[in-house]
Amino acid sequence: MTVSLGPLLAAVLLLLGAGDLARRRLDARRARAQATAWAGVALAMIVVCVPLAGLLDSALADAGYTTATTLAAGWARWTPLATGLAGLVAVALAPMRTHTPSTFVHILVVLATGLAATATGEPLVIVALWALASAAAWRHLRDRLGSRGPARLFALHQVSGITLATLGVTVLAVHDAPSWARTLGTAAIVAAVTARLGLLPLHLWVSGLVESAPMGLVVVFLTAPTAPMLLLADGVPRPGTGLLVIGAVSALLGSLLGLVQPDARRGLSAVAVSVPGMVMCGLADATPTTVAGAVLAWQVYAVGMAGTLMVLSATEARRGPMTITAAGGSFTRTPKLAVAFLLLGLAVAGFPATLGFVGEDLLVDGARESSSLLMLALIVATAANGATVVRWFFTGYTGRRDHLGEPDLTTRELWAVTAALTALLVGGLAPGGLVPNGPAPHRPGPAGGTHHTNTATTRHAP
């Protein structure tokens, strides 16, 4: 098993931070400041690893550590960076009104598991990290919302998913397993991924979570790359048509349902079903173009959706729920919140001049080679997601002259949002080096044998 040290050390740092926060009894404001600092340091560690990776990898190889590398290479090269940035946005924009000190502890734990998942290509480790993240999130949900309702839905889906994933990975790890067992193992992993990402029909927990839970926790759980990393992990065969259909239906139906939602949280939760559906289409299609598009779309989703949801949460903390019946907001009063919501949301929806467009273009072009219907589904989903974002921009941030005296982005929030926007807009201008690549993902089907294709653990300098 090859391990990427950069994300792993960042995850360890976050766990230390979580422990420190849990030990010290800070108020919410100080807890947020501390959590932001820990998330910032973890992100900085990953950023520093990028230019030093070649040098450090050579040193590690010279020292005989052949199973360790600085950063993952190949398809998942930039995933730790996107995950770390999403985490930083999640804590920096977390409103105190909805985030207690214990929330920040759980956020750091879940973020740490997400980063650690990018450090390895071992499926069982990824499933274990998923279980840890789910447990941390569920515990917080139970404390805040009670054991019924959204917490129970969340727990049911995650426990089912983790159980299926464990079974699937275990079966696939048996070298001489019969073909029917391998088929069942692959199906179990497909079902597990469906539950983890909230794809149809196992998507019911997503909207409940987005509406009820503290948004920072929601964001780090939704944007953790557990499911994509599991599908790209060693020994996991190509998921095939089943996941392709699930992804396409989720992408299309999720995007269309987003258009009829009566409040912004539910609208964005529909987008949070649709975009992972598109990502799964790309991973299931498994051509170099679609996989590149899927991984890039996931990274954009992580950063963009984190930003969009957190900006929404910050706005709601300032002036109340954003619903279709509410009277909107004053753009003049909060222009930066409004613009951040629009741009981050449009990046998630694949609007041109953002990095999201690159992922969407690769997905659409790759899908066209497989099926025109799939391509059309992805295009319609993209259009509807963009419409949902703009609808809530207009509904929530415009239409009023008066205001409550609510402030615009604070300095801390401004810099976090600026970092996310810079990644998505500057990345959109020069995406050449950001497009994931790796060996052709021609993995054997469920009936065949498996071999290591996970480029996340391939050793080469980024």
Partner: protein
């Protein structure tokens, strides 16, 4: 392996003038957008004069550059200046390349667009002086200019799509420029929804074309299919490539026509154009009188060879154009507001232009576009002074101005006039038809959403199986008042268990996340009635 935008400038047979100036016509507006956006984002104080100067310099330079490109074409007797800027991004099976083309079609459009945007920018400095959204207006105007130059100078449909979307976004945001009123916001949203729905055609057409032909780059006139012959039917410019299969050609052509329907407000998607006049008058002039509405015909002109290979699409273009012209001229007769009347007049002319292109009268269409753009933008710019101008004219003439349109009253049989009058008053019932068309989809989506909420409540063991009402999918305008179903009020459930955190979040939540005790979800927000200082101190 990967190239970037800065990679190669293919010189080929192109002159240094072309390779230098052509990218500048797109890069300069983009740089103008970046400068203004950064200044706005970081809150730098700017003077109105500096902003206007930036816009004037940018579009003045672009106009100059396109004029030089035109002269270069003229003097070198070349048909096309083709600049390949390199690969933006690529994967093993796909590459997205920047390519720009200056030819006898793009240069007049690019030149007139730059000149008009520059002029509108100069005029707006007085019109919008001390307006709160002054800098926003110029930022969006520059973004629009960048999008337009991309569309008209694009050397491939992929580049067209990028510019096309930027134009659509800037258009919607400028319609909602006066954002403190609900009307402009609704109309901006409606325009964006229409664009977004119809742009599916452009993206799908581009992708299908790439699959059928292998490239979405425009091809030189020499390799295009035989065009519609006629004295006014010249097609001496780069064309969208044509698939070998007639079915593919027809499919792609119809998808492109769908994009044109949205952008140029052809029937049945024409309802957004009169509503778009809610924006500032200068932007109405430049978007809906001059440039934006003509981008659809421009795309059709670029697709002339494709239309030749797809007769069904050509017929559709003619019919759509004529139907739009007829509809708009009838409805425009009953408008009591000058900007609405001009919007319908603009729609009429665009319909005629589209029909001309469908009939193969391309040179006539180009002349028609350029003339219409100049006249209509001038009319819209002058529209706020209509009454003053009329009185001034009547005083000069010494009599009242004659009533116009009498010839139609003589031409149309008397028994047809009442139904036509009703048709005009109802806006051709297009909104009703669109609403009826989208209603089944909306109802289906609402039903699905209701079912999944109930299932979620059942599985999650919610305290009450409530399902708040849904909003209509109102694709015809997003009228909140008409598009809402009030949420059902339900009996409050048992008190939620209180956790360690904020109690407001712990208040409620069915499994689906909906509120139990009220019509809107109860969350961590302060709510409208909360004291402002409380929101400020706690919400941050």
């Amino acid at each position: 392996m990967r190239n970037t935008l800065t990679a190669q400038l293919s010189t080929g047979t192109n002159s240094a003038v072309g390779t230098g100036l052509l990218p500048a016509t797109v890069a300069l507006p983009a740089a103008g957008v970046a400068v203004q956006a950064l200044a706005s984002w970081f809150g730098r104080r700017r003077s109105e004069r500096a902003t206007v100067t930036i816009v004037a310099v940018v579009f003045g330079t672009v106009a100059l550059a396109t004029a030089v490109l035109g002269l270069t074409l003229l003097m070198t007797d070349r048909g096309v200046i083709d600049v390949r800027l390199g690969t933006w991004f690529e994967s093993p099976g796909h590459a997205w390349r920047w390519r720009l083309v200056a030819d006898w079609l793009s240069v007049p459009f690019a030149l007139s667009a730059a000149a008009l945007i520059g002029l509108i920018g100069a005029l707006s400095s007085r019109y919008l002086h001390r307006e709160p959204g002054f800098f926003r207006f110029y930022l969006l105007l520059t973004l629009f200019g960048a999008g337009v130059e991309l569309v008209v100078l694009a050397g491939s449909l992929a580049v067209v799509f990028v510019g096309w979307e930027l134009v659509g976004l800037s258009s919607a945001l400028l319609i909602a420029f006066f954002h403190e009123r609900r009307g402009p916001v609704r109309h901006g949203l409606r325009a964006f929804l229409t664009y977004r729905a119809c742009d599916v055609g452009l993206l799908a057409g581009t992708a299908l074309l790439g699959g059928a032909v292998g490239s979405v780059d425009l091809v030189s006139p020499a390799t295009q299919a035989t065009g519609w012959t006629g004295q006014l039917g010249g097609t001496d410019w780069a064309q969208v490539p044509v698939p070998a299969s007639a079915v593919s050609a027809t499919t792609v052509a119809l998808l492109l026509v769908l994009a044109v329907v949205g952008k140029s407000a052809l029937v049945p998607a024409s309802g957004w154009l009169p509503r778009a006049m809610e924006g500032p008058t200068p932007s109405s002039a430049i978007f809906y009188g001059a440039i934006s509405v003509h981008l659809g015909p421009y795309l059709l002109l670029r697709s002339h060879a494709l239309l030749d290979a797809a007769p069904a699409a050509r017929v559709a273009v003619v019919l759509l154009g004529l139907a739009t012209a007829l509809h708009a001229t009838i409805v425009g007769r009953v408008q009591s507001d000058i900007k609405n009347a001009l919007a319908y007049a603009s729609m009429t002319q665009v319909g005629l232009i589209v029909a001309e292109i469908g009939l193969g009268l391309n040179l006539l269409a180009i002349a028609h576009i350029l003339g219409h753009a100049a006249v209509r933008s001038a009319q819209i710019l002058r529209s706020p002074s209509l009454l003053h101008d009329r009185h001034h004219l009547e005083q000069a003439m010494g009599r009242t101005l004659p009533h116009t349109g009498r010839h139609l009253e003589r031409l149309v049989p008397v028994r047809w006039q009442p139904p036509l009058y009703r048709y005009a008053l109802e806006g051709g019932h297009l909104d009703v038809w669109l609403r009826r068309l989208s209603a089944p989809l909306a109802r289906l989506l609402q039903a699905i959403d209701r079912v999944q909420r109930r299932v979620a409540d059942r599985i999650g063991g919610a305290r009450s199986g409530t399902t708040p009402g849904l909003t209509h999918l109102d694709l015809t305008g997003g009228h909140h008042s008409s598009g809402l179903l009030a949420a059902h009020r339900v009996a409050p459930g048992r008190a939620a268990p209180r956790g360690t955190g904020a109690q407001d979040t712990a208040q409620r939540g069915t499994a689906a996340g909906s509120s139990v005790g009220g019509s809107t979800p109860v969350r961590g927000g302060a709510g409208r009635n909360a004291p402002a200082d409380d929101v400020v101190s706690e919400g941050r």
